[in-house]
Amino acid sequence: MTGSWRLALLAPALVVLAIAAAQVILAMPAFGHPLSQYGATVDALVPMLRNVSNMVAAVNFDIRSIDTLGEESMLICAVTATVVLLRGHRGEGMTECAGRLPGRVWLERSDATVLMCRLAATTLFLYGVNVVLHGTVTPGGGFQGGAIAASSFVLIYLGEGYSTWRDVLHSETLAAVEGFGGFVFAMAAMVPLAFGYAAAQNVLPLGTWKDLYSGGLMVIVNAAVGVAVIGSFGVLLMEFMEETRAPKPGDEDDEDQEEGA
């Protein structure tokens, strides 16, 4: 189909959908007056039942924790997929330096950049860990904190350059961290079964409200998610940044064979 044919077909479809959407919108429950009792019940009961103050974390890591396990699996699955896709023909080897466009002027990294990156990377990582640890108390949690902590890795690349970045971070360690985080989550769901409880049942001591340790099993699950997310994002950053390195002779040769086959 050419572009105009596509639009000619899309336009009537969108008109019908707009009419349908208008009808749905007019029938929606009034904005700001939700009908659901689900959320309100969680808000009313769970602070007492689980001694936690962050209800979103309670929903994620306790009430609907199997959803979160699926979500975690999705992230790990997508990251593994990205590794397969990007590393497939490139392999895991390293080169001396990042690739460079021919003719572009190359400037030495300034001391100020190095210093700022070192300071900021450390602070950012610790801040991320802090957000993870307080997941059940204040806004944040494993996903958000993990993403913050992992973004400090980019600053290592920026401040130290390609070869140091590759020396500091190892893909097999990051993959192990990622898998370990996911495994702890799965075990946290499985172990209660062996003792006759429901899967992922929160049977640990619940701790104190507003305390760093509050929410029992949620603390472990939250930390596991944080660890897995740090590993996942680390792997992801590494694989995408590897695309910037100078290609070695022998990389990407499969394609030529494919042509010849």
Binding site: G3, R6, L7, L10, L14, L17, A18, A21, V24, I25, L26, M28, A30, F31, G32, H33, P34, S36, Y38, G39, A40, V42, D43, A44, P47, M48, S53, N54, M55, V56, A58, V59, N60, R64, D67, T68, E71, M74, L75, C77, A78, V79, A81, T82, L85, L86, G88, V137, T138, P139, F143, K210, L236, E239, F240, E243, E252, E255
Partner: protein
């Protein structure tokens, strides 16, 4: 005001679809997917919203204070992770396609081609 949030969600979905259909570049197309997904964020957060309510985090204010629906917020968090995962995957595919075909124009890309 009552219908604004729902209209925004429908609009985002519509323009996202329009962007995908008229796209001439995979990366632009992936961006349009994200626009479509934003529609679901607006919709879900709108469904959980309650007038005069605060965040569902009882740290500064005691339990019992009116709060918005935490379930919807948790679902949006999942949605965001889905989006991040999907975008990473699609960008990786786009990178590899570009290496092999030398173009990212959807009009020139198709999996299996007739002979001749």
């Amino acid at each position: 005001m009552n219908v604004l949030a729902w209209c925004v969600a429908a609009w985002l979905l519509g323009v996202g679809i329009y962007g995908i259909v008229t796209s001439r570049h995979y990366v632009h197309l992936i961006g349009c997917m994200t626009v479509c997904q934003s529609a679901t964020y607006v919709l879900l957060l709108g469904i959980g919203f309650r007038w005069g309510a605060g965040p569902p985090i009882f740290y500064d204010h005691p339990p019992g204070t009116p709060a918005v629906d935490p379930v919807m917020q948790a679902l949006v968090l999942t949605d965001i992770v889905v989006g991040a995962a999907m975008t990473a995957l699609l960008l990786a595919i786009a990178l590899q396609v570009h290496k092999r075909r030398g173009t990212l124009d959807p009009q020139h890309l198709r999996p299996l081609r007739p002979r001749e």
